[in-house]
């Protein structure tokens, strides 16, 4: 911060500095002026916040503006957890998402809570292993039902259900690839869990495949 200057007081945009740091060029950044607001919600313990952090980290590594805002406070395993991620090409105003473009719902309770807030034409990725019916809304949304828990069990670790859902979401949205997410995974996963990197990577790809096959 400048001592006296009025206009110079605000530091250079972090993303500009990051670009310099990683020697990124604008060419690596997609050109349309996208602004994607995502809510990821489910039980505490389903890896909701990890999924959100992964999404944010992946976008950051691609040189995009990003914010991540978790629910915080009285969160416990089995309770509810949610987080809000914004991925954009321009500076992000408010990190709190009121009506998301996309919702990743990992259980029924969070589907009921957040699905009515989806924007018209929004995308819903729902975990059909735990959610039996599609929501009835009086707006048009695109629904992808992924049996995330079942697919994760097939891969040998039910806890990777969050990654299956993220893989499905990324494949559908197309702004970031599941492979890019796999690259960012070691940054957000605590070191003591790094032995789960292979299964998580597989889960990301499995989610993407599921969407590809059902199209």
């Amino acid at each position: 911060m400048d001592r006296k200057g009025n206009d110079k007081s605000f530091p250079a945009r972090p993303i500009e500095r990051l670009k310099a740091k990683y020697r990124m060029s604008n060419a690596q950044i997609t050109t349309n002026d996208s602004y994607e607001e995502v809510i990821i919600a489910g039980f505490g313990g389903q890896g909701i916040l990890l999924a959100g952090r992964l999404l944010a980290q992946t976008a950051m590594k691609r040189g995009l503006e990003v914010t991540f805002m978790p629910s915080y406070g009285a969160e416990v395993r089995g309770g509810t957890a949610n987080c809000m991620v914004i991925i954009a090409e321009r500076k992000i105003a408010c990190p709190v998402v009121a009506d998301p473009d996309s919702l990743i719902a990992m259980n029924k309770a969070s589907l009921n809570k957040f699905a009515p807030r989806l924007k018209n034409g929004g995308l819903l990725v729902m975990n059909s292993s735990l959610i039996d019916s599609k929501p009835q809304l009086n707006k048009t949304i695109e629904i992808i039902a992924v049996p995330a828990d079942d697919l994760a069990v097939e891969l040998g670790n039910q806890k990777a259900a969050n990654m299956v859902a993220i893989g499905a979401y990324l494949q559908k949205r197309g702004h970031l690839t599941p492979d890019a997410a796999a690259e960012a995974l070691p940054d957000v996963l605590a070191k003591r869990y790094h032995q789960t990197l292979p299964v998580n990577t597989k889960a990301l790809r499995r989610g993407a495949e599921f969407v590809k096959n059902s199209e």
């Binding site: 605000f10 915080y72 992000i92 105003a93 990190p95």
Partner: protein
């Protein structure tokens, strides 16, 4: 790294020697992070038994000339006010971070800006001030930590960093770097052992007749220096604006989004963002009010900074307030709607040269 952890690391980079704190949501990540990192750096971390203890430990560490800080959230900061007043009386430097939550009382744990009065008016008893920062992004939160420690040392004052639950919890890309320190006066007042020199006395009690009055005038002169030299304020598209939105902290970044949208729609809007809340950018706002325009103040409270804006404008221009208290976060659309309501319809021209624009609220 969330905002809390980022600011903790920034404090370490800024040379914080000792951290004292007590957990409270939404700033628990700070003591948690410090408990790990401070011992790694060979510095002091103490989880105190209460907020009262924490601020008095800061007093003790600061009296020995070390850089000390504490962090808490609204209810905890209230408990610390006695200590902050004593720090002011004894002219000791300290950095206090308040990650604000909803109030009054225990309130809730949602983000809020309800502690503006407490922070900018001193907060505790007696005739004193604290320097107050209102950062609006995680990067700025990080950048202001180094400055906070420098200003605290330079003026021997408490510097309050007024963040909120959103800033503390959110993550966004940042760059952490060590900043060069300002040129600072030597701490020749510190209690470092009086062997071979005159003894130093650190106190806030001035009983002899006239002694305290003299001391108060000395503090006043110091505060005037701060007001003269340390105001930081950011302005955007103010020159031709018909409406200027004033906001700080997280509210300011939402305002920024709304004003950008308003400009895209052809409304002449601009914003002013005080970065230092005390000293307040009175001059800048007063100057902006010399032209015919409306001021909209947006806060996450029932209206606190709006009083400072009104004082600065001194009746020269209409001031309208919009706020969401108790954890409510205004949306870009809400603010944009307000801006639209307040701007003069472009087909109506003001008749008299100095006629006030019609307010449609």
């Amino acid at each position: 790294m969330c905002g809390n952890e980022a600011l903790a690391e920034a404090a370490i980079l800024a040379g914080c020697d000792a951290y004292f704190g007590y957990p409270i949501t939404p700033q628990n990540e700070i003591p948690a992070y410090m408990s790990r990192r401070m011992p790694e750096e060979g510095r002091v971390f103490v989880q105190s038994e209460s907020e009262l203890a924490a601020i008095n430990m800061v007093f003790g560490a600061s009296a020995t000339g070390k850089r000390a800080m504490t962090t808490s959230s609204s209810p905890g900061i209230s408990l610390m006010q006695e200590g902050i007043s004593y720090l002011a009386g004894a002219e000791l430097p300290a950095v206090v971070v308040n990650v604000m939550r909803g109030g009054p009382g225990l309130g809730n744990i949602a983000p809020s800006q309800g502690d503006y009065f407490q922070a900018t008016r001193g907060g505790g008893h007696g005739d004193y001030r604290t320097i107050v920062f209102g950062p609006s992004s995680v990067q700025e939160l990080v950048d202001c930590m180094a400055l906070a420690f420098d200003l605290a040392d330079e003026y021997r004052m408490t510097v309050v960093v007024l963040a909120d639950g959103i800033l503390g919890q959110m993550m966004e890309p940042i760059v952490l770097e060590k900043k060069p320190r300002r040129e600072l006066p030597p701490k020749d007042w510190a209690l470092t052992g009086a062997k071979g020199r005159e003894q130093n006395i650190v106190r806030s009690l001035w009983l002899p007749e006239g002694a305290l009055e003299k001391h108060n005038y000395k503090l006043k002169a110091k505060y005037e220096q701060v007001q003269k030299n340390e105001v930081i304020c950011e302005q955007y598209e103010v020159d031709d604006a018909e409406i200027i939105v004033v906001a700080y902290g997280v509210a300011a970044r939402i305002v920024r989004g709304a004003v950008t949208r308003a400009r895209e729609e052809g409304i002449k809007a601009g914003w002013i963002r005080p970065v230092t809340l005390w000293p307040f950018p009175t001059e800048q706002i007063s100057k902006a009010a010399d032209e015919l325009r409306i001021f909209l103040v947006v806060e996450m409270s029932c209206g606190q900074m709006v009083e400072d804006v009104k004082l600065a404008i001194a009746g020269k221009a209409p001031v309208v307030f919009y706020g969401r208290p108790g954890g409510g976060v205004p949306t870009v659309d809400e603010i944009l709607e307000r801006i639209k309501q307040l701007t003069i319809p472009r087909n109506v021209k003001c008749k008299a040269k100095n006629a006030k624009p019609k307010l449609k609220i």
